[in-house]
Symmetry: C2
Subunit: 199 residues, 2 copies
């Protein structure tokens, strides 16, 4: 219908991020994606030859988006680990809460075939490596609590994605998704992580 210039492809990607991320890969049909985009299923299969390749594209794009957000946050923060961590939290939490599917998709990876997981892991590895190295240095400098840098990265990642992708858990502790609720969540998350990492 509308689809001016190659916009269909990106619309499909966007809808797929939301659907895969919120309900899971196999719970979403190509028909449903097509319906959301307002296009026939075959159009989806024209841009992405199979559901699997669509998933690969979705994963890759999500990883790139998140990496860019984190990268920018780190660069704009002063050269102090706690400040940088705070900046990253702030930068990630905004898109994560506005679009829970983003991190939900990342979390989905562990349920997919090892192939897909491996492809994404490979893509993300350099970033993880840099984060691990950085934390290791700062621990040696005494600006962070001494610990296993790799596991600390994994733990911080687990905390942030966990809290951002489990509305059920937040609902169980009677948290409200209002503006003030959001601010409180960000503050508590930040203090939680900083307390966990301070020397």
């Amino acid at each position: 219908m509308v689809t001016r210039r190659g916009m269909t492809r990106s619309a499909i990607l966007e809808a797929s991020v939301d659907l895969f991320g919120s309900r899971g890969f196999s719970a979403v049909s190509l028909d449903e994606i097509a319906g959301v985009v307002g296009v026939a299923k075959q159009t989806v299969l024209y841009w992405f030859p199979s559901k699997d390749e669509l998933l690969d594209a979705v994963l890759e794009q999500t990883a790139l988006e998140l990496a860019a957000v984190i990268e920018a946050a780190v660069r704009s923060a002063p050269d102090e680990p706690l400040a940088r961590i705070e900046a990253v939290i702030k930068a990630v939490l905004r898109p994560a809460v506005r679009r829970p599917a983003l991190l939900g998709l990342v979390r989905e990876v562990s349920r997919l075939s090892p192939d897909h997981a491996a492809r994404l892991t490979d893509q993300v590895r350099p970033f993880v490596r840099r984060a691990t190295d950085y934390l290791g240095e700062e621990m040696a400098n005494g600006r962070l609590r001494m610990a296993d840098p790799g596991l600390v990265v994994a733990l911080a990642y687990a905390t942030v994605t966990g809290i951002a992708t489990e509305p059920t858990a937040l609902q169980a502790v009677e948290w409200q998704a209002t503006t003030t609720g959001l601010r409180r969540l960000r503050r508590e998350l930040t203090e939680f992580l900083l307390a966990a990492l301070r020397p």
Copy 2:
């Protein structure tokens, strides 16, 4: 085949926990569950009239199991919040790592229909309530860092389930699932949480 006395039902439940928890509800077919149990699909549908009711039973059982483990850990620990938290981590991490699907299933809840999620939330609410109240008291006593008790419960939950259910993340930081790796993970997780909660 074998199935002495009403064992079939519990075998189906067990297999379903593993499959739903590791790969997600909609990615698992009744045929597959039946295959794992070694029984015809209709036998599954005899014990659980539909896939949805099977899911409900699986969720309920998992919640009860986890609650029992946590309850026992809390009761056996001394009356000191940090010691109790450590005991809970220890108690939960063992079954969680041996059977990742357990927590994976809990995490799956947010992807399911609001109905299922609500049923589980209701069941878990009293436990959450008690945990929140307890943390609140101990914060007032100065034995824990001052914070929003509800959000702290959610954050600690997110950290533990996140780290226990994302092999992909752990793999990305080159963690190995050996005995020593497990011990290191438990130590780091404990220190991480205790540091986050200490006054």
